[in-house]
Symmetry: C2
Subunit: 101 residues, 2 copies
């Protein structure tokens, strides 16, 4: 086990995307801003992990969180420019999936 010449940025990207549910959450957000429950309903992910993943993605600047003080509260998540920039990669995976799986 060593890290020799592995590009740290690629390693970080793969670590982010290669985390369970992250890819699907980003894919879901390509459809536009969505609230917590919408994402939870669209994917087979539990609230616990969805919350955790969204926090990570927000911290990494891929996702933005907006709170609307309505009743009951509404929280919307959307892709930032940085997150949106992953669309090509995600669409590529989608295309591969339909062609090879």
């Amino acid at each position: 086990m060593n890290e020799t010449t592995l590009c740290p940025r690629l390693a970080k990207a793969m670590d982010l995307i290669g985390k369970r549910w992250t890819g699907l959450i980003l894919y879901q957000l390509l459809d536009g801003p969505q609230r917590f429950n919408e994402i939870e309903s669209a994917l087979p992910v539990s609230g616990r992990l969805l919350s955790e993943r969204l926090k990570e993605l927000e911290k990494e600047g891929l996702v933005e969180r907006k709170v609307y003080s309505e009743v009951p509260v509404r929280v919307e998540y959307s892709l930032t420019e940085k997150g949106q920039a992953l669309e090509g990669a995600i669409r590529n995976i989608e295309t591969w999936a339909t062609g090879w799986l």
Copy 2:
């Protein structure tokens, strides 16, 4: 938690790629056929998980395993056409990583 209309192929693709080390292993194999120890040295993955991941990828038809009965034995792993077809997605992630991380 439900699965509503989520595309099963995309879900499977994300499950494959979204498994720790899988993305980097595939990326490494884009350089051409490599033996077990080469991959292990190039990435911060342990032999235990590398072995497990390569088995999964072989089972899914993305990677081919060839044994050369030399002394000591040589085992080479390479991408199949199906695995190679992921190059676009992987390169896309690489580009994103260098641009945004």
